[in-house]
C-alpha cells in the first residue's frame, strides 16, 4: 500500500478535522501541516490549540509559501542563483519583466529588493532540488516523517511538480481537498493548467500507483436539499450525501425577490454572501464568497451573478463561469440557502 493518501472530500465532510486528528495521532512522527492561505492555517492552529492547548513539538504548522521559502528555496538558493544568503522575502503582487528569461535567474525570480515573485516560488523550489542533486527533498526527508497538505486544490502550476517530488520521497504525504472548491490559486503560472480544479482528479489518477485516493461524498454540514443543489453544480462528481440534520419545516432552497428581502432577513438572519464588493446587496452587510471558504453558517443568502441565475432556472451547469464559487457559497449552509432574484 502506498504511503501517500489523497482525500478528495465534499464540503462539510470534516476534511481539516481529519488532518488534525491524524497529525496529532503519533507524537513520534515529525509532522508538517501546510496549506495555502493564512486564514486556513490560523484556523488549523486554533483547532489544534483547542484540542491540546499548545502546538506539540513534533508538529510544525506553516503556510505553503513559508514552507517553500524556508525549507526549499533559501537552503539551496545558491544552486540556482550562485549566491548564498541572497533571497529576502516574498513579493506577492509583482511579476518579472516581460522579456526576462529563466537563464537570468536573478531577474527572473527576484525583484530589486531580492524578494521572490510569487509565481516563481514553486518553480524555484523544483529547480533548486534539481540543481542540487535532490538536496531539497533530502533535507525534507531528514526534517519530516509526514506532511499534510490541506486545501490541496489551491496548488497549481509548479506546485504540482513539487508535490510529485514529495509523493516520490520517503515522506508520507496526505493531501486533502475538494477540486469543486478551487477558488484560489497559489500562482498564475500556465504550467499544468489542465490539472486545475476538476482536472486535479486526472492528475491523481496518473499517480494511483504511488498515492491512494479516498473519495468522501458525505456531508455532515449540509442537509439533503442543499446537497442535492450542490451536486447538480458538478454532475461529473459523485453526488453529495447528507448525514447531517434532516430537513425541517423552513429548511432548503429559497428563491426570494427584493421586495421579500427585509422580511426574509429578519426571519432567518442568514449570512449574506456576494460575488465581490461590486455586487448590490441592497445595503446589507455581506461576505465575499471566496472569503467564506472553510466556514460553516446556519443559513446563507446569496446575491447571485447572472450565470448563477441562469443556472437556477435552466439547471445547466456547463454554462456557469465559476461553478466552484457557487458550490462554495451553497455548501456553507447547514439548513437553508436563499437566492435573491
Amino acid at each position: 500500500m502506498p504511503k501517500n493518501l489523497a482525500i478528495i472530500a465534499a464540503a462539510g465532510s470534516r476534511k481539516t478535522e481529519t488532518v488534525i486528528e491524524r497529525a496529532l495521532e503519533d507524537p513520534g512522527k515529525r509532522t508538517l501541516i501546510t496549506t495555502y492561505t493564512q486564514e486556513n492555517l490560523a484556523q488549523i492552529a486554533r483547532r489544534i490549540e483547542a484540542r491540546v492547548r499548545v502546538i506539540p513539538s513534533h508538529l510544525t504548522v506553516m503556510t505553503w509559501f513559508s514552507f517553500l521559502i524556508n525549507h526549499a528555496i533559501r537552503p539551496y538558493q545558491c544552486s540556482v542563483l550562485g549566491e548564498i544568503d541572497f533571497i529576502r522575502g516574498l513579493n506577492f503582487k509583482g511579476k518579472h519583466g516581460m522579456y526576462v528569461q529563466k537563464s537570468d535567474p536573478e531577474k527572473y525570480f527576484l525583484d530589486s529588493n531580492r524578494d521572490i515573485y510569487r509565481n516563481g516560488v514553486s518553480d524555484f523550489a523544483c529547480l533548486a532540488n534539481e540543481n542540487s542533486g535532490g538536496s531539497v527533498v533530502g533535507r525534507l526527508e531528514q526534517l519530516f516523517d509526514q506532511i499534510f497538505i490541506d486545501e490541496v486544490q489551491d496548488l497549481v502550476g509548479f506546485d504540482l511538480d513539487l508535490l510529485d517530488l514529495l509523493l516520490k520521497s520517503r515522506i508520507a504525504i496526505t493531501i486533502v481537498g475538494d477540486p469543486r472548491q478551487h477558488t484560489l490559486s497559489t500562482n498564475t503560472s500556465s504550467k499544468n493548467k489542465k490539472y486545475q480544479g476538476k482536472g486535479f482528479l486526472d492528475w491523481l489518477k496518473k499517480r494511483s500507483d504511488i498515492c491512494d485516493c479516498e473519495i468522501r461524498s458525505t456531508s455532515d454540514r449540509c442537509n439533503s436539499r442543499i446537497c442535492e443543489l450542490a451536486s447538480s453544480i458538478f454532475p461529473e462528481f459523485e453526488p453529495l450525501e447528507s448525514i447531517g440534520e434532516p430537513v425541517h419545516g423552513q429548511d432548503g432552497i429559497h428563491l426570494i425577490s427584493v421586495a421579500e428581502l427585509p422580511a426574509y432577513v429578519k426571519a432567518y438572519r442568514p449570512t449574506i454572501l456576494r460575488w465581490n464588493r461590486n455586487a448590490n446587496t441592497q445595503g446589507l452587510e455581506a461576505i465575499n464568497i471566496g472569503v467564506s471558504k472553510g466556514s460553516t453558517y446556519e443559513r446563507v443568502l446569496i446575491f447571485p451573478t447572472k450565470p448563477m441565475r441562469n443556472f437556477l432556472t435552466d439547471g445547466n451547469a456547463s454554462k456557469l463561469s465559476a461553478p466552484e464559487k457557487l458550490y462554495v457559497a451553497v455548501t456553507r449552509a447547514r439548513h437553508s440557502v436563499g437566492f435573491v432574484l
Binding site: 524556508n70 525549507h71 528555496i73 533559501r74 537552503p75 539551496y76 538558493q77 545558491c78 544552486s79 548564498i84 544568503d85 533571497i87 542540487s132 538536496s135 533535507r139 531528514q142 526534517l143
Partner: protein, 533 residues
C-alpha cells in the same frame, strides 16, 4: 555535534579553520594566539552573545582583526576609496544529523550542504552616504567603522534564527576572569552604600533581612531549595540553595545569589567559584545537545582540586562536546594528547593526531610539558644535552643582550634523534626552530642526512659542528677559545688540550655553568653563533 568552524576577521583571526572532535577538544597555544577568540566564536555562533551581552551591543572596531584593519586603513590611505571594510564572519558547521536538519543548507562560504550557524557582521549598504562622508572626512581613517555594520544570524538553511530554536546549548565558563554575579551592579551599589547615613543602612539591612527570612520560609522556595540540594549532591557535598544575599555590601536590590553553605558565591575563593561553575555546566541535564566551553580550568585551583576537576571533566564528556583551553601540562597529560589542537603563530591549527603514529606514540610517553614548550615558545632551539643548553644560553645572551627566555625563545634539550619529532610539530605550526648538532666524528652531510625529511627552510635550520674542530661541544669550545682562556674560566691549570678536554668531558655541566656565568668574553664556535643569530 559541532564539526568544524570557519572564522574571518574576528579578533585574533584573519582567517581560521579548525575541525573538531566529538567529546573533548583541548586548545593549546601561546598567549594572544586566539584560544579565547576560538571559544568566544563558538559561543557567539551558538548564542549571538559576546561576553554575556547581545553581540549587536558589543560590536566595536576592537573586535575586528588587527591585520584586516591595518590592510583596510592602508588601502584607504593609498587612495583606494572602494576598499570594503573587513567583515566578521563566523561559520559553525554541525554534524549532518536529522535533529539538525532544520539548520541545513548551502548558505556557507564553502557552499557545502551541511547544518550550521552563521554570524556575519558587515557593512550595511543603507549607510553608503554616511560611509562616504566618513572616509572622505578630515584626517585619515584609523579604524573600521562598525557603527555602519549590521549583524546577521542565520542557519545554513538561509533562515534567520531565534535563539530558542538553536538545537545546541552552550555554556561558556571563563575561570581566568571570574565575573561576580551581576558584577556591574556590585560596584554601583557600593558607591550608593557609602552615601547613606548609618541609620539608613541599619534600616535597610533590617528590612532586607526580614525579606530574606520571609523568602526562605515561603514553602515554594523551601521546596525548590530541597530539590536543588538533592540534584547538586553529585557536584559538591556542600548544600546548594537559592537565597537573597544579605551579607554586608551585597546588593539589596533583590539580587539572587547562589549560596554555598549559606555563603554567597562571591565570598567563596576563586577556585571554589570556578569549580562550581564548571561542574554546574557539566552536570546540566542533557535535553539538548550540549557544548561546554571552558577557559583555563587550572586557574585558581590547587593541584589536588585540579585533579578532581579534570577527572570530572573527563567523566562528563560523554554525550557532550567540551572545548577547553589550557596552559597546564598537567591538564593535557591527564586529558590526553589525542584531543589536542595546537594553535601556532600563523593561526593554522594543528592536531597531534595528524602526526606520524610513531611520533604520536613518542609524545604520549613524554611528560606533556616538553610537547607544550614547542607550542608555547615563539622560537625554539633544540640542543643535545643539558651542557649544550647552558652554553647556548650564553651564546644567545652574547648575541642579543638578553637571555633567550626573556624573548620567548625556549632552549630545549632533547636526546638523540628525537629532535626530529619536535620538528614534526614545529613545522605545521610555522615555528622557528634551530637544531644544534654535534658531528660525532661524521661529516656534516652525514649528520644532515638523518634529518633529510625535514627540508631546511627559513624557519627550520640545522647547525652541525665543524668536524675539523672536534666531534663534540667540548673540543669545539676548546679550539675556539684556546687552553689558556678556558683554564682561566674553569680555574684550572691543565698543561695540554687533551687533559683539559678530558676534564671537561667528565664535568660537562659544571663547565657549561661556568661558561654561562663567566665574566670574560667567550668565543663561540661558528655553528653556535649561526644557530642563535
Amino acid at each position: 555535534m559541532l564539526a568544524k568552524i570557519h572564522i574571518e576577521n574576528f579578533r585574533a583571526f584573519r582567517e581560521f579553520d579548525l575541525d573538531f572532535r566529538d567529546g573533548l577538544n583541548i586548545i593549546v597555544g601561546a598567549n594572544d594566539i586566539g584560544k579565547t577568540t576560538l571559544l568566544e566564536a563558538i559561543n557567539l555562533a551558538l548564542t549571538l552573545r559576546f561576553r554575556g551581552r547581545p553581540f549587536a551591543y558589543e560590536l566595536s572596531p576592537h573586535l575586528i582583526n588587527q591585520d584586516a584593519k591595518n590592510a583596510y586603513v592602508a588601502a584607504l590611505a593609498a587612495g583606494e576609496q572602494a576598499a570594503p571594510p573587513p567583515e566578521i564572519l563566523i561559520e559553525l558547521f554541525l554534524d549532518d544529523r536529522d535533529e539538525f536538519a532544520d539548520l541545513k543548507g548551502e548558505n556557507n562560504h564553502l557552499k557545502e550542504n551541511a547544518p550550521g550557524l552563521r554570524v556575519r557582521s558587515a557593512f550595511n549598504l543603507n549607510y553608503s552616504a554616511e560611509y562616504r562622508k566618513f572616509i572622505e572626512g578630515d584626517g585619515p581613517v584609523t579604524l573600521v567603522p562598525t557603527e555602519y555594520f549590521d549583524t546577521e544570524w542565520i542557519t545554513f538553511g538561509g533562515n534567520s534564527i531565534v535563539r530558542r530554536s538553536v538545537p545546541v546549548n552552550a555554556s561558556l565558563i571563563d575561570a581566568s576572569a571570574l565575573r561576580l554575579h551581576a558584577g556591574a551592579d556590585y560596584y554601583l551599589q557600593k558607591t550608593i552604600d557609602e552615601q547613606l547615613e548609618a541609620s539608613d543602612r541599619v534600616e535597610l539591612s533590617r528590612v532586607y533581612r526580614s525579606l530574606r527570612e520571609a523568602f526562605s520560609e515561603d514553602p515554594a522556595i523551601a521546596a525548590i531549595n530541597e530539590k536543588l540540594g538533592e540534584t547538586q549532591k553529585e557536584v559538591t557535598n556542600k548544600n546548594l540553595s537559592l537565597s537573597i544575599d544579605v551579607s554586608q555590601g551585597a546588593s539589596w536590590e533583590s539580587s539572587l545569589v547562589p549560596h554555598l553553605d549559606d555563603l554567597p558565591l562571591q565570598f567563596i575563593g576563586g577556585g571554589g567559584q570556578s569549580m562550581l561553575k564548571i561542574l554546574l555546566a557539566l552536570y546540566k541535564s542533557l535535553d539538548k545537545t550540549h557544548v561546554v566551553l571552558i577557559e583555563e580550568p587550572e586557574n585558581h585551583q590547587s593541584p589536588a582540586s585540579l585533579n578532581v576537576l579534570v577527572e570530572k571533566i573527563r567523566e562528563r564528556c560523554d554525550g557532550r562536546q567540551v572545548f577547553l583551553s589550557t596552559h597546564s601540562s598537567f591538564v593535557i597529560n591527564k586529558l590526553g594528547l589525542d584531543n589536542l589542537a595546537l594553535l601556532g603563530d600563523n593561526a593554522k591549527p594543528f592536531r597531534l593526531t595528524n602526526l606520524d603514529p610513531s611520533t604520536l606514540a613518542y609524545f604520549k610517553k613524554l611528560p606533556g610539558y616538553d610537547t607544550l614548550r614547542v607550542v608555547l615558545a615563539k622560537r625554539v632551539i633544540l640542543v643535545e644535552g643539558p651542557s649544550d643548553e647552558l652554553v647556548i644560553q650564553r651564546a644567545y645572551r652574547d648575541a642579543h643582550g638578553k637571555l633567550p627566555i626573556e624573548e620567548g625563545v625556549d632552549v630545549i634539550s632533547v636526546r638523540g634523534l628525537s629532535a626530529a619529532r619536535f620538528l614534526e610539530i614545529a613545522k605545521p605550526l610555522g615555528k622557528r626552530v634551530q637544531v644544534v648538532l654535534d658531528n660525532d666524528g661524521k661529516t656534516v652531510a652525514e649528520v644532515e642526512e638523518r634529518y633529510a625529511p625535514y627540508e631546511q627552510t627559513e624557519e627550520i635550520s640545522l647547525h652541525v659542528s665543524d668536524p675539523d674542530q672536534g666531534p663534540t661541544l667540548e673540543p669545539q669550545l676548546l679550539n675556539a677559545n684556546g687552553l689558556g682562556a678556558l683554564n682561566e674560566i674553569f680555574e684550572k691549570d691543565y698543561k695540554t688540550k687533551e687533559a683539559l678536554e678530558s676534564y671537561m668531558r667528565d664535568n660537562k655541566t659544571t663547565c657549561a655553568l661556568q661558561i654561562l656565568e663567566a665574566k670574560k668574553k667567550i668565543a663561540m664556535p661558528s655553528y653556535i653563533e649561526a644557530a642563535v643569530a
